[in-house]
């Protein structure tokens, strides 16, 4: 039975759903509604963060066993909300600059977050599917939000066709799982371990995981990532690469840990190695900064899969820690790129996204160059920034599972990554600007700098004392 008081146990979801709907109304009924909508969406995300903390250390199964609230789910949802908060703060100036300042933008952001929450809190494959589609459909629209720009259209079309294609595979997997177990409830499926060796069940879960590997961007399903991230509006690329990935990881991680599929560890390990290699090696050859960050996000998906391959109690903590570090540094880097992008002057291209533009940035705009340097150091995994501890916990989890070869390969490949991160830093501080850029007007938007400042704060605070994170989320293994 569903009781009416259960609605109080999922306050963050209710807040997000209501405010996303109300924003659409505000857009219609209030003139000059941009600032109101911005303030309103900021307030509702903050309220969702605060209410999420109410559910720490209270394991609950709600709504006829359709939703399940665990500590790890709360942790993942708070990480997502932190990323979304920074995204919204940074969005305002960017969408004004690109002349796409519509209320629907914020509404779509909040609806996609609601989808992510459904996925993470789900205790039934049906809810996972609904959440996944809610998230993905909002993402397709957001990727094509600059609708007059060919690159944005193209990225939306590629994302849509490939995403819908992979949805088909996820659904076929779900159908096979349903057929062999007779239920879609995850608790009931876990309770019947005899079925785990049935080959139809294995094919079904395999198809299901393939779809999620596509969403995370793991080799060999990563081809869409650079194209979509390059074409989408820069802030949206930052959001896709952080919040979208966290939601997919947060969904499959508890399932993998509960199914206890140690026999398939080798497949996850090989996927992790291939992903890290692909991301880090191809990023070396990039000349477009958005594309470079996209390849760096593929490499990060590889590091996350090192943790998933470990499949032990350290993996959950390591992945959660890496994800929060990754949110701050990756999102921060994308926000810096969006700040430097040139105002839309009717052209149909993104301007100032080439690496050449970053030559001598330290002299032209020292504050932004300093921020970018911190994010790149963190992405490269240099202590004392959060990115270092993220990789440390992931490789530690792998070593605890006797996957020493995987950690060694991972560390070597992340050293390859240091080259292209440091190349940008060298460009910014030790190279002279191209002549036409000297004396160029630099637009420093207050909100953009605030958002970047928050990301820097997160990168440094969690890097200097990683225990803060574990004190906030006292983990129980699912």
């Amino acid at each position: 039975m569903i009781q009416s008081k259960e609605i109080l146990e999922i306050l963050p979801l209710v807040i997000l759903a209501f405010s996303a709907t109300i924003i659409l109304m505000l857009e219609v009924f209030i003139k000059k509604s941009e600032t109101v909508i911005f303030g309103f969406s900021l307030a509702s995300v903050t309220a969702a963060i605060v209410t999420s903390f109410l559910y720490l250390n209270r394991e609950m199964i709600l709504f006829n066993k359709y939703l399940k609230i665990t500590n790890s789910a709360v942790a993942f949802s708070v990480i997502i909300l932190a990323g979304i908060l920074i995204t919204i703060i940074a969005s305002k100036n960017y969408i004004e600059k690109e002349k796409i300042n519509f209320g629907e933008y914020y509404s779509l952001l909040l609806f996609s977050v609601m989808g992510m929450f459904l996925m993470i809190y789900a205790n039934d494959i049906l809810v996972i599917f609904i959440g996944l589609e809610l998230m993905s459909i909002c993402f397709y629209v957001l990727a094509g939000f600059l609708r007059l720009r060919q690159k944005s259209n193209e990225s939306a079309l590629k994302y849509f066709l490939l995403g819908a294609f992979m949805t088909g595979f996820i659904l076929y997997g779900i159908a096979l799982i349903y057929g062999i177990t007779g239920t879609t409830n995850l608790s009931l499926i876990y309770a019947n371990p005899k079925i785990f060796t049935n080959y139809v069940f294995i094919i079904g879960t395999g198809l299901f995981f393939i779809g999620f590997m596509f969403k995370i961007g793991v080799f060999p399903f990563q081809m869409w990532i650079p194209d979509v991230y390059e074409g989408a509006p820069t802030i949206v690329s930052g959001m896709l690469s952080t919040a979208g990935k966290i939601a997919a990881v947060g969904t499959i991680l508890p399932i993998i840990l509960s199914l206890n599929i140690l026999n398939f560890r080798i497949i996850f390990s090989i996927a992790a190695v291939a992903t890290m290699m692909y991301g880090n090696v191809i990023a070396l050859a990039q000349t477009n900064i958005k594309r470079l960050l996209a390849y760096s996000s593929i490499a990060s998906a590889g590091y996350i899969f090192v943790g998933i391959a470990a499949m032990n109690e350290f993996a959950l903590q390591g992945i959660a820690y890496y994800l929060i570090a990754y949110t701050f540094m990756q999102l921060g880097a994308f926000i810096v790129v969006s700040l430097l992008e040139k105002k839309d002057d009717g052209s149909r291209e993104y301007k100032n996204v080439d690496l050449d533009y970053y030559k001598g940035l330290g002299k032209r705009n020292p504050v932004i160059a300093l921020f970018m340097t911190l994010f790149l150091f963190s992405l490269a995994g240099i202590p004392p920034f959060a990115g270092f501890w993220g990789k440390y916990y992931l490789f530690y989890a792998a070593i605890q599972s006797n996957l020493i070869w995987l950690s060694v390969v991972g560390i070597m490949l992340s050293l390859v990554g240091v080259y292209y991160y440091l190349k940008i830093i060298v460009y910014m501080w030790f190279t002279d600007s191209d002549e036409y850029l000297i004396g160029e007007e630099v637009s420093n938007s207050g909100l953009g700098i605030t958002a970047t400042g928050l990301a820097v704060l997160g990168t440094i605070v969690f890097g200097v004392d990683p225990n803060i994170f574990f004190r906030i989320f006292k983990f129980i293994i699912v």
Partner: protein, 100 residues
């Protein structure tokens, strides 16, 4: 009573035809129709299992899949139209400005 295997083989064949269509065809709208074919093949699987197991969950799942497919169609066709306004064609071989 027809054996469940016939339903499953039919739906697997339909699914494969959909996948082949996505991989072979070059028009964005036809690719999208092939994706819809895949989804409908899955619906057939769900209904077959639901009837075989005597369990209503699968049929509810079919309704949800149909709703989601409709939402996806709305968004997908809007994206195709936006692209068509800028480029005047929907052939995916010529949608190639994003590459490395």
């Amino acid at each position: 009573m027809i054996d469940i295997n016939y339903y499953l083989i039919t739906s697997a064949l339909l699914f494969s035809i959909g996948v082949a269509g996505v991989l072979i065809r070059r028009n964005a709208i036809i690719i999208f129709m092939c994706i819809e074919l895949m989804l409908n093949a899955i619906n057939l699987t769900f209904v077959a299992f639901s009837s075989y197991l005597g369990n209503i969950n699968g049929q509810i799942f079919v309704f949800i899949v149909m709703t989601v497919a409709a939402a996806e169609a709305a968004v997908g066709l809007a994206i195709v139209i936006a692209l068509f306004r800028n480029k005047e064609y929907v052939n995916i071989d010529e949608i190639n400005i994003l590459k490395w």
